[in-house]
Subunit: 162 residues, 2 copies
DNA sequence: CAATCTACGACCATTTTGGTCTTGCTTCCA
DNA sequence: TGGAAGCAAGACCAAAATGGTCGTAGATTG
């Protein structure tokens, strides 16, 4: 539970890939703003993702202004901004919608049914923390190897089969 | 997305309720270890939750040793430990299973498909943080009003319709 | 104008979630 | 001592979310 959808996963993978391409293009001296553009098909093949599904995801991201698209031969998608300026939070929210840890935190801010869920206020804190955390991780952070990450995460807190 | 299931919600509500009953029973001077026991039906009625569904959830929690059950007339469920010693993390995991933010962090620790998800390592950090956060919030924390919570959470970070 | 690519919406399959029903066993108490 | 109250457990079904496909239309380039 409490997992990202595959779509969000795919989206993050694709952005990571495009970020890498942008770096390569920059190194090669390209100066167009579409540098590093790749087609949905290329990315799908690179990661063995269903191409049509990825296409839809990329369209979503383009609509959210995280990617810029270019139709036609040799068209494709490229990052709309530097990878360091795109947070994983934006990506996930664009694809999966807003994330609420409790089903009863609505847009109205309050619970729809009177005295039912008095519980949730402390959990809001968790919700906000997740938001903050994800906001602090950019697409650029995804491309580097995990070496420098804090040792804290090495411990197996999370395991055990369902 | 990234939301708790209703089952987990219900479970937390029920535990909160039982924690409150335990406090009341203690104040009344009861000294049995089953103090504050309530039937699944009672709790379900208090929160307008489908009784049979709640029953199943409570059974799950009992199996996880978070509750102790007592059959027979005037039987029911009570907290197996003081509310302050039951973390929301335990509850959620007992009901929803282990929580992995990415679909590809498996028990084996690595991704099942070779080069597919190089992305996820930074997200593990998020995963661990959520775990830590939830572990730090006990059922006892759920019963008090939200007054003392940090003002940080007041801001509407989380909203916007899907 | 043909090939390549995005854009978009309808559609279907699978999985997960939420919820119900049935049967059986335990405990209490009148 | 037997029935009412309650838990235990598993089969089962319905609804919703997710994952994935298809077809068509419009942009772009060579």
């Amino acid at each position: 539970m409490l997992r990202l959808t595959k779509k969000a996963d795919y989206g993050l993978m694709a952005l990571k890939y495009l970020a890498e391409q942008a770096v390569l293009a920059e190194q090669a001296g390209a100066d167009l703003n579409l540098s590093g553009a790749r087609s949905a098909k290329d990315i799908a093949e690179a990661y063995h993702i269903p191409p049509q599904l990825l296409a839809k995801i990329l369209q979503t991201l383009a609509r959210a202004n995280l990617l810029i698209s270019h139709a036609g031969t040799n068209g494709g998608y490229a990052l709309a901004r530097p990878a360091a300026d795109i947070s994983t939070f934006e990506v996930i929210r664009a694809i999966d919608g807003p994330l609420f840890i409790t089903s009863c935190i609505t847009i109205h801010g309050a619970c729809d049914l009177a005295g039912h869920c008095t519980i949730k206020e402390p959990l809001r804190k968790v919700n906000d923390s997740i938001t903050t955390l994800l906001s602090g991780i950019s697409v650029a952070d995804l491309i580097e190897p995990a070496d420098h990450l804090p040792a804290a995460m090495a411990g197996g807190l999370v395991n055990i089969e369902r």
